[in-house]
Symmetry: C2
Subunit: 607 residues, 2 copies
């Protein structure tokens, strides 16, 4: 009962179905709600590129600029491509639905597996990066990094279990604070740079030619930077959340999002390049940048706080996406049923709990280190991009609606590009951790299919010619007794309630005890026969199961044997260990016997 | 079922009660059976003294000789004292029985707690010392020390679970091999020393006066050496195992044992002193001694092998003592009932399993290091010595049989000496680990008493005026349904078997589902009413428990509600996670409701 109270304090009292809010979003709030995931990656994407490049020396850091430009082009392509998806799927076009509709069940499941994995990684990476923003500003907290990460996940999880449906305005605060602060910082930085208000970069501002750095390293730096694209698909999943005309509004927001992402990402990368900032163990690149521009004043702390805030909101996005996708999969019978249903606060609590558990595991395993998590990240997202864009191509080719040619071409270009990037990411980051995801995706798909097969086979086994009239089973009722006391008397009275002719069964381990019991039994005039089974090996289990098996063998298929076990329900937890061991054994032995039903008749001890 | 097969392979097929062997021991085999525990401590007792002394420098090692002489005197006193116990308790005079009989229940329980703790430590210390004998000879095995210890415990445990009642002759081999080998080594060593066949000791052979070494350190060295006395009480516990006249034979064996222990212990200590052997991290003192005397030849390896063997047999002794004492305590209702009964091989399997688990835990926690375990050891044994000798004094004073004066004096001297030693051990080793035992003994006694109180209160709650005739309880039968399929039909047919008027209960979370179910129900003509409960919060649990509570409230004290849950028994283990979550919740909620009986009606899935 105390567990129950704890749940109420943390999660709140149940909400009636009628009370769920349905709110439609305008363009500005829509951007706020869906942008946090994609934009927040600006906080770490540049750093991840630099971290790869630095392996080839400080000079190689200059390559960050061309790489960032390539990624910006990729953002433009993906954005355009997704505008088509929004157009075609105004009811919401997640990668699972688009892939399943157009390519078939298996590609749909691959997309779903990839997305589920990436949602978990979004939580882990965002929380780790958010905590890194904090520890950059307050280095004294570095040793508590993992704990801060776990705390953040728990906080976000509890908020989501409460199921407070924030109005979009709550999202507006951190998203717009972030956009304004970062745009301001970039503008100030660019001006300061143009008018050389800041010291010069410690390395020449132009790349010294490709021969200095291996192509593989450049591709890996590009692959790491592609983390910037995660979350960009959020708008297309949530078209239904927009005000009418939904599809139009969502497309406008999609364009805004792509543009903002390009501007912020290029701006940050340019400034780190221009100011010659190199990645450091204990301070993020964005923190170094802000410190160089603003010193240690309030503006610096504002940037760090806003960075942390948007990253937490980005993690929060997965708490909507993961349980929703899990529930869609569960409704399609690819996941366990319990993911399909909402808890008493109207949220998919099981999905929330699983997501949190997985994210915490990852954070602990990788010591809350963003850089260690990045190689696993983005593989899944690009798998889902590729599949969903390919699905869109098939969609246009099949429908041949107005403008189908150029629409198919746009999505085809998107599919091709994201496909190449997907392979690049998988190959260049394979040994650094991407192999985990590459193996996990088919494993998850296999699990989805096994679950699906089970539910199908189950339905077959349960299918029913509706019976005309039900006939009762033939029921033999046994009460296993070890003594004659109040608990046993209660069990016997219950046996009399469910059967006209129950039998009491006693297993003899000591003839003296049998004699005493038989005496008591006779003097009581119980009206229930006492059957004594011999036990040459002192085991209670074996003679009893043999007796039950004999009863089953002599009856027809309609016969069941009910085994009644008088049990104590102790007043204190530790007393449990002093009782009911035999009952436990009997239950274990009966578990796999068809046609045996075990019933505990509890006797509640008062002290 | 595979678990069952594993058990059979390891433990063997059950043995019928009639097959238990009862063998009486002669004096020579009696010595073999009871001596291994006490004599084996010779393998480490000297080393433990030296390890304490070396803190005061190499010169201090010379004090080992006077300390060993003091311990030898103690052995003589305790041996004499225990001869009295054997005389007075021919039926077996364990410390628990003697203390309880003469001093009362609480002192008896203190002795029992102390002994149980020391039995666990005997296993841990003996196994660790046995493995040290092996790793001294084969240093390559040092890194696997802990694993070897665990392996040894598991081996001894499995042997005991099989319950092979070895004839005493099996014990004769290691015990007499040990006695002969060690006596031979000592004789050879003394001769070699007298005729100066060996190099001289690296430090002067006489102690340089007390001022060099603190008294506390000397006392602690003495306390560590007292480990030599553990197991000396074994003979008095097992008087009944001897041939007639049991008491006489046991006393003779007791004298032999005391004498042998004194000779072996003094011999080893004298030689290590004379040869100037100092304790080392990776080689035991006995191994160094044997190597000095015999070189690296077969005689050296024989000594190490015999040492290991007797230490394993010493550990084995606890596997007889611990379960036996636990079963006596369980029969007196101070421990859980399941310790009282023998398993299907005629051994106290629960006691064996607990003892092994505790010993393995200790060995892992202390890294299989004898020296780390020693400070915990011997406290318990001396508590039990003191209590049992004090009990004997009371015994003689009360009985006043022939020679009661001198007998009381002997036991009084024993009680006084062992009491002083007990305090010395507890104080000098307190901060090194003895505090654990000092705290554990009262905690265990409190637990014994709590268990006892529970069984007493239980008996009171269960006590019974034998009923004249049993009346059936009034039983309301509910079947919780979520759908209508074969599993539910089976549950409904069972409900009809145990009640003339069962009800089916459905909790509505979605009106559409309700409509479909009601349609199926009507077309089936089930003959059982379907009750639909509304659920504004989508929870199945709450409306259902409220309904059950209403049923209970409207009935009398004789009414019970039977909740039938149709459950799937899956064909594969992982399918379990896809079902029965609601059933689990309902069971949890009903667990603490009096007058509710939950019955699973299983439906076995075939695939």
């Amino acid at each position: 009962m105390r567990l129950h109270t704890l749940k109420r304090v943390l999660v709140g009292t149940p909400l009636p179905t009628a009370q769920f809010r349905h709110e439609r979003l305008g363009k500005a709030t829509g951007l706020a709600v869906f942008a946090s995931d994609a934009l927040s990656s600006v906080a770490y994407a540049t750093e991840e590129i630099l971290l790869v490049l630095i392996a080839a020396g400080m000079l190689a850091l200059s390559y960050s600029l061309p790489i960032a430009i390539a990624i910006a082009c990729l953002v433009a392509i993906v954005t355009t491509s997704y505008r088509q998806t929004i157009y075609a799927y105004p009811q919401g076009g997640g990668a699972y639905i688009v892939s399943k509709d157009n390519l078939g069940v298996a590609p749909g499941l691959v997309a779903a597996a990839a997305l589920l994995i990436d949602y978990v990684l979004t939580v882990a990476v965002s929380v780790a990066a958010g905590v890194a923003a904090v520890t950059s500003a307050l280095p004294a907290l570095v040793p508590y990094r993992v704990w801060l990460c776990v705390l953040a996940v728990v906080g976000v999880a509890v908020g989501n279990l409460r199921g407070v449906r924030e109005s979009g305005k709550v999202f507006a605060i951190p998203t717009y604070l972030f956009i304004v602060s970062f745009l301001g910082m970039i503008a100030y930085g660019v001006i300061a740079s143009l008018f050389t208000l800041l010291p010069e970069a410690p390395y020449p501002p132009h790349p010294p030619g490709l021969e200095g750095v291996g192509l593989f390293l450049l591709l890996r730096a590009f692959a790491s930077g592609c983390a910037a694209l995660t979350g960009i698909e959020a708008v297309s999943n949530g078209v239904q959340a927009f005000r009418l005309p939904e599809s139009h509004n969502a497309r406008v927001v999609m364009t805004w999002l792509g543009t903002l992402l390009i501007v912020l990402f290029l701006g940050i990368t340019y400034l780190t390049y221009d100011l010659g900032i190199a990645p450091r163990e204990t301070e993020t690149v964005v923190s170094q940048l802000a410190r160089r521009l603003f010193g240690d004043g309030p503006l610096y702390f504002e940037i760090q706080a806003v960075t942390m805030l948007i990253l937490l909101f980005a993690a929060n996005t997965s708490y909507a996406d993961f349980p929703r996708l899990a529930s869609i999969l569960a409704k399609d019978r690819f996941l366990a049923r319990q993911f399909a249903s909402q808890g008493d606060r109207g949220v998919f609590s099981n999905g929330i709990l699983i997501l949190s558990a997985l994210a915490v595991t990852l954070l602990i395993a990788f010591h809350g280190d963003t850089n260690a998590l990045i190689p696993l990240y983005a593989v899944g997202v690009f798998v889902s991009f590729t599949l969903s864009q390919t699905g869109m191509v098939v969609h246009w080719l099949r429908l041949r609606g107005p403008g189908w040619r150029w629409r198919a071409a746009v999505n085809g270009a998107g599919a091709l590009t994201t496909g190449i990037v997907m392979l690049t990411i998988a190959v260049t980051k394979f040994t650094h951790g991407a192999w985990i995801v590459v193996l996990l995706i088919p494993a998850l798909v296999a699990a989805f299919m096994a679950v699906h097969r089970h539910y199908e086979v189950l339905a077959e086994q349960l299918s029913l010619d509706i019976p005309g009239a039900l006939t009762p089973l033939e029921n033999v009722v046994l009460v296993l007794v070890g003594d004659l006391h109040q608990g046993v008397v209660r069990a016997l009275r219950y046996a009399l309630a469910i059967s006209p002719a129950p039998r009491a069964v006693f297993v003899e381990t000591d003839p003296e005890r049998t004699r005493r019991l038989e005496e008591k039994w006779a003097s009581g005039g119980m009206g229930i026969p006492l059957i004594v089974l011999g036990s040459p090996y002192r085991s209670i289990l074996r003679p009893f199961t043999e007796y039950v098996d004999r009863l089953l063998a002599t009856g027809g298929d309609n016969r069941v044997v009910t085994v009644i076990l008088p049990e104590f329900v102790p007043a204190r937890w530790w007393q449990q260990f002093l009782h009911n061991q035999t009952a436990l054994l009997i239950k274990g032995a009966m578990l796999f016997r068809r046609n045996v039903i075990v019933t505990d008749v509890p006797f509640h001890l008062k002290r």
